[in-house]
Each structure stands twice: as structure tokens, then as C-alpha cells.
Amino acid sequence: MSRSSEVTDPAPAEPRPPEEPAPLLRVEHLSIDLPGPAGPVRVVDDVSFTVAAGRTTGLIGESGSGKTMTATAIIGLLPVGAAVSGRMLWHGADLVTMAEQDRRRLRGRGIAMIFQDPQAALDPTQTIGRQVGEILRRGGMPAKEVRQTVIDLLDRVGVPDPETRHAQYPHQYSGGLRQRAMVATALAGSPQLILADEPTTALDVTVQARILALLRRIRDEEAMAMLLVSHDLRVMAHVADEVVVMYAGRICEVGSGREVLNSPAHPYTRALVVSVPAVRSKTAIAEPLPGSPASPAERPSGCPFHPRCAKAQDRCRSDVPQMRQVAAGRQVACHFPEEM
């Protein structure tokens, strides 16, 4: 942690309500435009949320919701030509305007990322140990020390026999072990925030449960903040302290994971929740929403969800609903939210 102190040192704290955990990252009015064949497409539109230290914040959304783009903007890996507005405050410094050189120093050290497909994210021609230790080596750590640190890291994430396995290549690892190696790679820079994009989607259920337990343990032991991006509400229910539900590039609902998933206030969140089939009880196939998730390129007027919403009225077709508080810690962008 000390190696990166020059970029992660907290700025003078701003006054904030004492009951809320201090936000590590504050995303304010973030909008992202990507170039498209018919002009720029606003893939993320006026998104605001916070990620607090020691908490897991879940970004929920389907395809085209902008959840992955939001995470990509935070880590600073947006495609060339992306136009970003708004602010992303990291210890008081704005990631949007930060010099690329500083961002690079922050990447992996202050903020690290775990990708969905470890097979694609790991280099097949380099040993696992070399990849886990890359950031340490680049930081100038002596080779011997790197080796020991890597072995400790692999041990911490549950790779068996790390003394031998750090010298193996990704193809010698199973899918679950590869994802553990990815987690070790993320941990190597002692980040304060880990972004995890669908970290268990490519894994089998039995492996998924173990990776989720690992992520929870890391959050608790290291007081690390995590931004978990997923379409899987079951994963969110098990890991996320707070959730942010996105649709067509906008936020529909924010609140504690338990409350949002138990009693959704936004009709879209409700539809998502009822469409998750249960394993421990028999459920009927949910009444499906009509149509497909709205594409940001053809975002419907007013509330982007209105063409699929059973409660939609005239107002929903014309006015964009603003985020408003419906209960303590619960915000919803809907003209007619469920009563809380």
C-alpha cells in the first residue's frame, strides 16, 4: 500500500454525514459518448453513485445498460474516441481530468480490475507467477521478494501448492483456478478498489460459490472496496452491500442490496427479480417483459423503460424521471415507483 501513497493519499476530507461510510469513489453525473456510424451514442447518461471503503457495490444491468462502460471508465480503459463528462472523484482527485500518466500509476495499484474471462485476460505464453508479479516487478521489487510475494498471494486466494503452481502456465490451470490467479493479480498492487466485471459468469456453479466466498473474504479482511458488475441478481444478492440498477445507460434504482432485491421500487428491477428462477422452490416461468432491453443508440423518449413497462403513462413517454428518494438510502428514477 505504501508504494502507491503518492497517488492514493486521501485529499483533505470533505464534510459528509457521519452515518454514511466514507466514499472512496464518488461518481457524479458521469456521461460517456462513443462514436457510432450515425454520430455519437450516449452509452452512459448522467450516472451518479458512490463506492465506500470495505463495501461491495453492485452494478446490475442487462446488455446495453452501460454497466461495463461505467467500470471501464473508472479503470480508464475506454476505447479511443470516447467522450467523458461529469466527475469521478477518487480521494478528491477527478479521474476524468487526471493526466494519463497519473492514471496509469493508479491502475493496478489504487484501482485494479478482475475480468470476466480469465482465459482471455491471462497471457498464455507467460507463467502465472510472472503475470501475478508483473506490477510488483514494475514497482521495482527485487526478484526474490517478488517470487515470495506471488507465492503468498496465490496461497491467499486458495491456489493449492503455490510453490509449484506459480511456475505453471494458464493452460495448466482449471477455470476456477485461473479466476483465482486473476484475483491474485488484482490484489498484487494492494488496491483500495477492485472492479470485478462478471467475475463468476464463466464459471461452474460449484466454482462460482467458492470465488464469491473468496471475494467476500477479501472485502472483509482487507477492508477493500469492490465494484461488482453483473447481470446475475443471484450473485448480487450474495455479495453486494449496495446495488445500482442500470437500464439503457441510466440508473433506475439505488439502495442496499437486500432492500432493492427484496422489495424493488422500480418496475424494471421488479421484472428482473421475478424473472430469476428459484432452485430451492418451484416457481412458474415469469410473466415476461415484452421486447428486448433498449439499446442506448435508440433510447426511447422519457423513461427509457416505458415501452416495456406495464405501468407506463403519458408522462413516462415524455418526461425523463429524475432520481428521487423513496426511503432512507433508496433512490429511484420512476414517476410511479412502488410504495416503500
Partner: protein
């Protein structure tokens, strides 16, 4: 059971190793002695983790994969790889793949994708009326409007592509639909549309469905019976109610325990 079975798979063995490796017996078989039967109006789900052999079994049933030992019986007659099957058998068993975009030719319109099946199987082609009208009707059956017929797969959403895949399969009036992870790649809010569609088609047309998936929640919603595969073998086959309420095999219990639910998190 076997007398009324539409498909009967017995002692199926598939290995992806060379003959010499197989003789040495050191390499595990991808499918290792799998037997099950499927009734004409039944939905059987095969569940298991990656590498369990569930997709290989499905491919053997469709004929996309040759097996080394055992037999696949369709209507009591042994069937091999698809190229060696009589046309009527080929027509009767159709498959819906996981990735809806990848399983449709991006250069063909939806209309020509469906018409192609009739050129391959003239016996299934609509007689006495125009193909276009028959295609519109098929599209309506899977919940698509006729306007989709002139579009290409690249212009369709994932859910629409999967509906086209199902329409293409239905065009040949199959008796068995093999769905390999057919809803796994779809958005949650679209999954239930396709599951409803499959359940409705099954009831309306008396289709048998072999449903390959890793999603136990979906299985509980649509399957009559469930077969659990682990390392190439069937470890348990039971009615869906029995399997979820009273799992017998330790591996089945492990799978059920690991599955996440929204409730009780």
C-alpha cells in the same frame, strides 16, 4: 418405457482420444456409458458442469457427434451420425444452439434461412400454399412479426435470433427439439420469453425436448425429468420434483447446495 420411447440412448460411450489411447484405458471418456430414454411428449433436462459431457450427449442424439460404443435409438431404430441418417430422422430431430447470433448465417435473411430448410427437406415444405405465407405463420408462432422475414440476423436482438432459430427448427415439424443452453446467453428479461415460448410449443405441438443446461433454476421450471451428469456419467435420473426435493446422489446434492437463490441470501 422403452416401447414408448422416442429416443433411447443406451450405454453411450464417446471418447475424443485416439484408438491407442483408448485401448490403454488411461484417458477418461467424454461420455462413459450413458443410458436414458425420452418419451414423445416429455421434457428431459441434462444438467452438469462444464466438461461433464452433457453437450456431447446432445450432439450424439442430433448426430453431430459419432459415438464409439452403445446406441442411440430413434423410434426403435439405431441412428448414427447425421450424414448416415434417413432424411425423415434428420427432419425429426432439430437443434437450437446456445449462441443465437453465431448459429444463423449473417448474410442470409430470416426468410431464406427458413426456406433453406425446405429446400434441404422438400418433404417438409408447405404444399398447396406459398412459402412466404408459411414463413409468416411460423414467425407468428414464435412471436415475431412478419417484418422480420426480410431482415438479417445481424439486425436482430439476441432474443429475436433465438426465436428465429426455433422457427427454423419448427419449419421441419420435428418431434424432438434439442436445446443446448438455448437461454443461457440471453438477458434475464428475455429468458422467460423464450422459456414460455418453448413450454407453449411443447404443449401445442406435442414436442419432446432435450434441454441441456447448467442453470438449475430454469430446469426446475420446465423439465419433467432431470438427468445429472458428472465426469461423463449419469449419476442420477429422476423426476424434477424428486430430484429437487429428494436428491439421492452426493454430487446432485453438491450441485443443489452450490446453486444460488435470490431468496435466503
Amino acid at each position: 418405457m422403452s416401447a414408448s420411447a422416442l429416443i433411447e440412448v443406451s450405454d453411450l460411450v464417446v471418447s475424443f482420444h485416439t484408438r491407442r489411447e483408448r485401448r490403454r484405458g488411461t484417458q477418461p471418456n467424454a461420455v462413459d456409458g450413458v443410458s436414458f430414454a425420452l418419451r414423445p411428449d416429455e421434457t428431459l433436462a441434462i444438467v452438469g458442469e462444464s466438461g461433464s459431457g452433457k453437450t456431447t450427449v446432445a450432439r450424439c442424439v442430433v448426430g453431430l457427434q459419432a459415438h464409439q460404443e452403445g446406441a442411440v435409438l430413434f423410434d426403435g431404430a439405431s441412428v448414427g451420425p447425421v450424414a448416415k441418417r434417413p432424411p425423415a430422422t434428420r427432419r425429426a430431430i432439430q437443434m437450437v444452439f446456445q449462441d443465437p447470433a453465431a448459429s444463423l448465417n449473417p448474410r442470409m435473411t430470416v426468410r431464406s434461412i427458413i426456406a433453406e430448410t425446405w429446400r434441404t427437406h422438400p418433404s417438409a415444405a408447405p404444399d398447396g400454399r406459398s412459402w412466404d405465407a408459411a414463413i409468416d405463420e411460423l414467425l407468428a408462432d414464435v412471436g415475431l412479426d412478419a417484418g422480420v422475414a426480410t431482415r438479417r440476423a445481424t439486425a436482430l436482438s439476441g432474443g429475436q435470433c433465438q426465436r428465429v432459430s426455433i422457427a427454423r427448427a419448427l419449419a421441419l415439424r420435428p418431434r424432438l427439439l434439442v436445446c443446448d443452453e438455448a437461454v443461457s446467453a440471453l438477458d434475464v428479461s428475455v429468458q422467460s420469453q423464450i422459456l414460455r415460448l418453448l413450454a407453449g410449443l411443447r404443449a401445442a405441438r406435442g414436442l419432446a425436448i432435450l434441454f441441456i443446461t447448467h442453470d438449475l433454476g430454469v430446469v426446475r421450471q420446465i423439465a419433467d425429468r432431470v438427468a445429472v451428469m458428472h465426469q461423463g456419467r449419469l449419476v442420477e435420473t429422476a423426476t424434477a420434483d424428486d430430484l429437487f426435493e429428494r436428491p439421492d446422489h452426493p454430487y446432485t446434492r453438491k450441485l443443489l447446495d452450490a446453486a444460488l437463490d435470490l431468496e435466503g441470501a
